[in-house]
Symmetry: C2
Subunit: 246 residues, 2 copies
DNA sequence: CCTTCCGTTAGGCTC
DNA sequence: GAGCCTAGCGGAAGG
């Protein structure tokens, strides 16, 4: 395909805020927070309706180069090549794609307003525990979620156990690491400073990394096995019940 | 386009290990480490030569759903829809794309063997310091890089200053956080245990977060302002000199 | 296999 | 805007 024709199609696609898909032979340069260069090769260039730009190689999940939404895109033909530049300010970054040959170019005006629902997240694990506190242990009563722990940050759930002890629960959707243990401990230190009582520490996660299990013991942190999937099931059940009652 | 025809094109593209680009009206379901669902909408489906699958909405940098390289892909037409499933084992995950209408489908056999060079990384910052230790301070002499610090991990650079004090340098390509300070301190504790001398601690980064600057003072960690870009420039200069001399 | 750590992490949220 | 944290993080390197 002639480059001038391709440039015109690109400009028209950008003007009409379409999704543009171009395949061809290109070089890619990036300069900004870091910098990179990628020599000649056959790739796919995607320009989205919101100014996102992605360069994909023929393999691999990740784009090799990109520019996030909102970048300003220019298209010029010069010295026998087609140059597409995407700039953003703050951070100031520029992506330059130098296209030597265009194999195909398509543009589509796509309409997509469906909403995306993600489940079995850490957020759902928290909601499941608030709905069904015995997931942590019998008699556990949540008092606050997202309680501030001084300078250290926020704890996921703050509550009391059946004997009236304070309890701090930290939730992870993946196996707990020693870093997670240290974080929980530092939260609890802050809370102890504030309230004068040392809360119990419970780490709720689907498992523990080996290195973390040593630290659990060392710091007196308790572990409660809890998977994101199980929490998701519990919420579904609860929701089903709600719908049934409502 | 007829779905049967589309299915045949997809199968042929997968068989021939081509890059496939499909646009159409589709629903998407994912189940694995988490789960998600996305109702009907117009999107772009990318199937790469290595079995990566990406579903892109018309806006945004990230794919809304995906499957990494190596997933097994099946294509069937059933009940008037085209269903593309991508499975992977370990973790067991499945991505199901239900295509109701196909607007376009292309497949390309792309050849791309160029190598990708990334600059101004943390690794380059380290190499710049090893080449030009005065970037840390006059008289600094690196002894080892990636020295083990007991259980705590590895320090970026280990050396001595002009007075013979041990020095541990931790490098970050972004502003240093309080977590970075704590990490450096824990490395140094391990090294002190091992060698019986407490090294100086230097955090080299383009800047410090406010919360971290408090901790710098508290733990006696020194800060050396150093940007990835400057390090990249120094390496380029050094390399230029090498080429000139060679 | 597991663990650790980097990344132009991105993206979301709060202050 | 800066800071903080999560993510189906992905990917690489090392044990």
């Amino acid at each position: 395909m002639r480059l001038k024709e391709a440039a015109e199609k690109l400009r028209e696609g950008i003007r009409s805020r379409s999704l543009i898909v171009l395949t061809g032979l290109m070089e890619v340069f990036y300069e900004g927070r870091a910098s990179s260069s990628l020599g000649e090769g056959e790739r796919l260039l995607l320009i989205k309706q919101d100014g996102s730009v992605l360069v994909h190689r023929p393999t691999g999940y990740e784009p090799v180069n990109w520019q996030p939404p909102g970048s300003l895109i220019s298209v010029i033909v010069k010295d026998g090549v087609l140059v597409i530049e995407a700039r953003r300010l703050s951070p100031e970054e520029i992506l330059r794609v130098v296209v030597k040959k265009v194999y195909s170019i398509e543009s589509h005006k796509l309409e997509d307003s469906a909403d995306f629902a993600m489940h079995a997240t850490e957020e759902e694990m928290k909601r499941a525990i608030l709905l069904e506190p015995s997931l942590i242990e019998e008699g556990f009563k949540p008092i606050e979620d997202e309680r501030r722990a001084g300078r250290a940050g926020f704890v996921d759930i703050f509550g009391v156990d059946s004997s009236g002890n304070l309890v701090v629960v930290e939730i992870k959707r993946r196996n707990a690491t020693s870093e997670d243990v240290r974080q929980l401990v530092s939260y609890v230190k802050e809370i102890e400073k504030e309230l004068g009582r040392r809360p119990r520490m419970i780490l709720a996660a689907p498992g523990v990394q080996r290195s973390a299990s040593r630290e659990l013991a060392a710091y007196g942190v308790e572990f409660k096995c809890l998977s994101p999937k199980r929490c998701h099931e519990i919420l579904k059940r609860g929701r089903g019940l709600e719908e049934f009652l409502g």
